[in-house]
Amino acid sequence: MKLEFKKSISNKVIIILGAMFVFLFLLGYFLLVGIDKVSNVTPEMFFFSSYTVATQFGLMLFSFVIAFFINREYSNKNILFYKLIGENIYTFFYKKIAVLFLECFAFITLGLLIISLMYHDFSHFALLLFLFSAVILQYILIIGTISVLCPNILISIGVSIVYWMTSVILVAISNKTFGFIAPFEAGNTMYPRIERVLQSDNMTLGSNDVLFIILYLVSIIIINAIVLRFSKTRWIKMGL
């Protein structure tokens, strides 16, 4: 993990992630003020608008930096070095994912803390921390899995965007059948429930939704582990 943290600092990945989250929250605010013409932005509106930005534009925003952090090791021909220090495809991948997620988690916490302090409103802090973290973890896992399979960053970003657009279209066609592919999507059933929770005094989501999110993330992790299982040789070949 130490190596990956060091790399994320020297490659400025941590700075780019920080800038992305600043942009995400600013966009959340300015969409309300600029497009919706809201004159008095309440914390509930601000949080929900930022959450909407994260779910609707998050994959586009974060795909570059996530793909870069993984694909760079292929283009730099570093895979044999990872083998040398005792890593395999699983430890290589999960350490990178863990570093990206921890850095994102720190920025999410910081962002929510600052906004909550500005409004003196911490009523939905824990729920928002959970939701934002789940949304970002989903992106890191999906884009990460695609990146580990793709030989270069452009292909990784391209495939990630195609995946994202396909999932949005499928959910729009039938959220009953395809809802599981993109649970956070605005066209899905959970989205309005989250809006209602944020605008009410009800502090948290229903246990069904929380369970569904956890189940969704676990499913991605399982699919990811299966993909990695069958990519061991490909990992070495792409790194040579």
Binding site: K2, L3, K6, N76, N78, L80, I85, K237
Partner: protein, 209 residues
């Protein structure tokens, strides 16, 4: 190391056909060949086994040091050595670092900002720490300055003397390697690897090929 009837095909092109690979321990086995004959593919095959002729005992006992195996360039020498000392024997690190004269490399500078020669020395140090018995060097002196090439030649001479159990295969098109480091001499010739006992004869064949 002996591999009989070795054939290597990459993307439908036959690079080596029914040739015998025989490399000795305790000396540098130089393999020369013109660009495009398949030198680097041979080097990679010791790990990837595209030929299906490289046994598991060989694959698991090979260190490949080539342009396909880099060290992270987004850390500094100090960080790399400290990191490696947690994974490998610190005494061995000091010994190889001393032989490679790494002291004159600025420890705080990111590796990507070092010269090619300095990067190559750090790469040699890192991959030799694996302490595998078969070491495949693929064009390791390519595009380096003369001083660094001489230092690497000196290092390899000392290293093989101190580690006579190792098999070092030096794949190169730099003929100065052959004169500077004594060993066995092989050439890629008509889809075979042929051994020559005289450096001069091999150079003659190489130039007239």
């Amino acid at each position: 190391m002996n591999i009989a009837n070795y054939t290597l095909k990459v993307k439908g092109k036959t690079l080596l056909q029914d040739t015998d690979l025989h490399f000795s321990s305790g000396k540098i086995n130089h393999v020369v060949g013109k660009n495009g004959v398949g030198k680097s593919q041979l080097a990679k095959d010791f790990l990837l086994n595209n030929s299906k002729r490289i046994g598991r005992d060989i694959r698991q006992n090979v260190s490949l040091i080539s342009s396909s195996s880099n060290i992270p360039n987004d850390v500094s020498k100090d960080f790399l050595l400290h990191f490696m000392s947690k994974k490998f024997d610190a005494e061995m690190i000091d010994k190889i670092a001393h032989l490679l004269n790494l002291d004159n490399i600025d420890g705080k500078v990111l590796i990507k900002n070092l010269s090619d020669g300095q990067k190559q020395k750090l790469k040699l140090l890192s991959f030799l720490l694996e302490d595998k018995n078969i070491i495949v060097l693929d064009e390791i002196t390519n595009s380096l300055d003369k001083k660094t090439v001489i230092e690497i030649h000196g290092f390899l001479n000392k290293y093989i003397q101190e580690n006579p159990e190792k098999i070092i295969i030096n794949i190169t098109h730099d003929l100065s390697d052959l004169k500077a480091i004594e060993g066995d001499y092989y050439i890629f010739n008509h889809q075979e690897i042929q051994q020559y006992h005289s450096v001069d004869k091999l150079i003659e064949v190489y130039i007239n090929e």
